[in-house]
């Protein structure tokens, strides 16, 4: 089972308590009615779906119930870091190795 660090609970919790909530940092237009159909389609349907680092929203559904953001590698499924909702995209990501480290 994956352990995911919740930035509000300040500790690692089992993945069963969490829900994925799609891609993070998608800004909603302040003037939604003025959006063209193409722009709205991009905002509403088009997601980056990268192979590698992805920024996602997660929710600690069965815990503090708060939304937060996480950086995850879609290849290894490893969480690189998590941070509170509303905080900017981290500029420097911590390096993590793909080897299993005994604790």
């Amino acid at each position: 089972m994956l352990l995911i660090r919740c930035p509000y609970c300040e500790e690692e919790r089992p993945e069963l308590e969490f829900r994925n909530a799609g891609e993070a940092h998608i800004a909603r237009s302040a003037n939604m009615a003025g959006e063209s159909d193409d722009d709205f389609e991009k905002f509403f349907f088009i997601r980056s779906n990268p192979k590698g680092i992805i920024y996602e929203r997660w929710r600690h559904m069965h815990g503090c119930a708060r939304f937060f953001n996480a950086v995850r590698d879609t290849v290894t499924d490893k969480f690189i870091m998590t941070y509170k909702a509303g905080e900017p995209k981290p500029s420097n990501l911590p390096k993590i190795s793909n080897e299993v480290v005994a604790k």
Binding site: M1, Y8, C9, E10, P14, L16
Partner: protein, 194 residues
């Protein structure tokens, strides 16, 4: 259920206020752990910004905890940290915390959930093992000390877990899930003895 209904003779004038708690009186005892339904209590779900916590703590008579996964207790009233601005307040002394919050003018939302939740006590040497049969959290005393409280899951149902002693837990679940949670814990307590 029928037995509980027969025992209580509600006054004829107010038959609608007769309370029939789910699981009333149910308990199972295995070698390692005992699972039993706890008596009804007064509860509120409290949401408030940080600026209101001092006034609410004063009105409730119990300091609202600010640290994750902690709880505070005073005179039969327990405040459990559920989220950064969310608490569950349980009163077992019969004083409604909702009435205490009503007098507070500071911004807050208090919702009475006394009848929504059912409390189950899991006690004994195998209590943690019984809960861990369906709950993925680390319940060792280092990670989950006495007084620690957390919303989490048990099998398919959401629960609020509070450690009341080294070998005792209070499990709060929604009334409609109570039969499932009680049975799950009973099975778990049997497994914990092995």
């Amino acid at each position: 259920m029928a037995k509980a209904a027969a025992k209580k003779t509600a006054p004829a004038a107010s038959p609608s206020i007769e309370r029939r708690p789910a699981l009333a009186g149910r308990s199972t005892a295995a070698t390692g752990a005992k699972v039993e339904a706890l008596p009804p209590a007064d509860r509120i779900s409290l949401r408030a910004p940080e600026t209101s916590t001092a006034a609410l703590s004063k009105a409730l008579g119990v300091t609202l905890p600010k640290k994750p996964k902690t709880s505070t207790m005073k005179a039969g009233r327990t405040a459990l940290w559920l989220g950064p601005d969310e608490w569950l307040v349980i009163d077992e002394a019969g004083n409604d915390p909702l009435a205490d919050c009503a007098a507070v003018s500071a911004l807050h939302s208090a919702v009475g959930i006394s009848h929504r939740n059912i409390a189950i006590a899991v006690t004994g040497a195998g209590a943690a093992a019984a809960i861990n049969s369906g709950c993925p959290q680390d319940l060792s005393l280092d990670a989950f000390p006495v007084g620690a409280a957390s919303r989490t899951i048990l099998g398919k149902a959401e629960i609020v877990l509070l450690r009341t002693a080294a070998d005792a837990f209070r499990v709060e679940c929604w009334r409609s899930f109570s039969d499932y949670v009680f049975t799950f814990l009973s099975e778990g307590s049997r497994d914990a003895a092995i």
